[in-house]
Symmetry: C2
Subunit: 410 residues, 2 copies
């Protein structure tokens, strides 16, 4: 089946992708949209006639789930509904008999406002790249082992600030804060961060909630997680380095975290599944997964339009099913809208590192971009994360872009 939507077949947003977002046609209320090619389909509007013709009472009623200002109602409906919805979308956008009635509900993506797609409940950030953790360990703790003793036994994670997750395109104001005092013992320096950085990550969005006191087995991953988005975990390294012992990152991260307006369903990533790197020592039973627990997703980090890194998600040590099982093994409940992210994606090569901290080795080894030497972010810089994966139709599918431009400190 091929889509009748002009320009969509063979694009990054073909019938095998179909990410969900929330959009407003000019001057109108926010509602759920599905991206196809360079168009956004008003899903609820199309589902309202689908109720007559496509689903005469034998499926979930999708329209009320989509006439909403966030994806949460749809996410809460669970895996069966997500699958029904996907089949229905493929029929609507793939079968030309629906073209005439659907076309009025397509909007060019450049002509709508795109919103934060999810009302985020809790946000957890993991630390799942061995290469990233090794690089950071070497820089932040030069006197110790690069990896802490727990690193290969559990996916290390921490809670981040859910309220400062913003949609792609939101400006990122340079944060101010304390840094480490100089060795002669004066007060800590205070001011705009001088080591503002990015972290290229993949985030997972929870749909189906759980009760307090229960755990999600690794095999239950796809029952609870709806889909994914790239995520930029903006980081102020000078603030972070001073504050993070002993309770972890706080103000160095909490000023902004950007996600895409598009959540790509897990169902679109079946062809991207891949082998995990070997896990040695073997994980404890609650962390055992199918060896095809990885995802082969190619990231690009663009600084002012120029690709400066290509982090390979396939290199991640811990799988998302392991992150979810770990997150809940203590009985912590899940809520619809929970987001958990992978941590910075860094591969073996320098040009695969997912942060400027690593690309410039803490600022000591500048990289070249825009024809000059660069280390950390300058005011006015724009960073874009892009990611693609193999789709079911044999081409590439695109995850939604995540962009942000740095504005000066207040």
């Amino acid at each position: 089946m091929s889509t009748w939507v002009p320009g969509a077949a063979g694009s990054l947003f073909d019938l095998d992708n179909l990410p969900f977002g929330v959009f407003s046609p000019r001057g109108q209320a926010a509602r759920v949209g599905v991206r196809i090619g360079d168009q956004v389909m008003d899903a609820g509007a199309v589902a309202s006639y689908g109720r007559e013709s496509l689903q005469p009472g034998d499926g979930p009623d999708l329209m009320p789930l989509w006439q909403q200002p966030s994806l949460n109602a749809f996410l809460a409906a669970g895996r069966e509904t997500w699958d029904v919805a996907r089949d229905w979308l493929v029929e609507v956008l793939g079968n030309e008999v629906h073209a005439e009635r659907t076309r009025p509900h397509l909007y060019p993506v450049g002509e709508v406002d795109l919103h934060l797609p999810v009302e985020v409940a809790d946000y957890v950030d993991f630390y799942c790249s061995e290469q990233h953790a090794t690089n950071v360990g070497r820089m932040f703790r030069p006197d110790g082992d690069a990896l802490t003793p727990n690193w290969k036994h559990l996916p290390i994670g921490y809670h981040g600030r859910a309220g400062t997750i913003v949609v792609s395109g939101t400006p990122v104001q340079r944060p101010s804060g304390q840094g480490r005092p100089s060795a002669d013992g004066g007060p800590p320096p205070f001011g705009p961060s001088r080591r503002l950085d990015i972290e290229a990550e993949l985030a997972f969005v929870v749909g189906t909630p759980t009760d307090l006191g229960t755990s999600v087995h690794t095999s239950g991953f796809a029952d609870h997680v709806f889909g994914v988005t790239p995520l930029n975990d903006w980081s102020a390294r000078d603030i972070q380095a001073w504050e993070y012992v002993p309770l972890g990152p706080f103000l160095g991260k909490s000023f902004a975290t950007s996600i895409s307006p598009w959540i790509t369903p897990l169902a679109a990533l079946e062809a991207a599944k891949t082998l995990l790197p070997p896990q040695d020592p073997p994980p404890l039973p609650y962390l055992e997964v199918d060896e095809r627990g990885g995802y082969d997703i190619d990231f690009e980090v663009l600084l002012n339009g120029e690709v400066v890194s290509r982090p390979p998600y396939a290199s991640m040590y811990w799988s998302p099913a392991q992150m979810l099982a770990h997150l809940t093994v203590n009985g912590a409940s899940l809520r619809t809208g929970d987001v958990f992210a992978s941590g910075t994606i860094s591969g073996d090569e320098r040009e695969q590192r997912g942060s400027f901290l690593e690309l410039s080795w803490g600022g000591a080894e500048p990289f070249t971009a825009g024809g000059r030497e660069r280390t950390f972010l300058e005011d006015g810089d724009e960073v874009v994360l892009r990611a693609t994966a193999l789709g079911a139709l044999g081409g590439r599918i695109g995850l939604g872009e995540v962009s942000g431009r740095v504005t000066p400190a207040l």
Copy 2:
């Protein structure tokens, strides 16, 4: 003025307290209530006639803010509305002319269901007791300085799991997780926590939100924070000790955090204001506060009905206004329903320590309770936090109790 509500005058819930919560009369919908003595007043129901008689159109309309299943709408209304509401409550509950119309809307507190009062947005936990941080530092990092170098320069904090904040009375299931491997290098032990603990804290509830990219000055504390509740930050020390380096506490804390059903307004704590301990070195300008930035609140920790500790909130090094200024100095926005907690309250004396970790010095020095030696929590144990402070009428006001009973691991 004295209240006409029988039994309330001179109690811990007199006219100078008036905490807010959310309750359901048997079989009815949840709504906002105000505690007076041993009664809960249906605030929205009383405000509906107040619209005719007490506030003929010259104040905010309180009724719709209170006919809600959480306090969030009222919290979002801001300081002026909170103050108007408090004056109105004092009139309604203090002037006997209102007794006849109000009495039908009073319910004995023992005959209603009490709910989580706030839809929690983000949850931040600080670490503001010098005595607690010193005790923990000595136990967790015996080879280093007890306080990390940053401790006296900033109130250290981290984000906790908002979705597992539960109301007092909710059972607390013992969490399972990984602990530190033995020195001979086998895999980490996995199972129910053997060092389950409490942390007696005071939490602050944010009402008025802020925009991303702005900061709250210490002088803005009372414009943004509505009130307080004791908080029990249940902690699994064995899980925490293994996981917390380098990104901080995660599963050792995220299984449950208990708060009271009652949020005591800041306005009720004016008489409890006290001097902060001397801060040396002097804090950076953004952390400067009025020296009366502390609160003199006496806590009690009860284990199975017996007082085992009396942590003094007045001993806390960092003030809540400093916590809030620090939390936002990087431009992080506030949302209505944000909760930030003080960290464990521990005084100078052994019997003032706010965790069993400290009371038993890591289990090495058991304390006596129930006629026998105790260290960490056993299944079936019930912990209750109580707190009182000087009120405006010269007696004590009570903060809401926080209780929880430990149930066995799954």
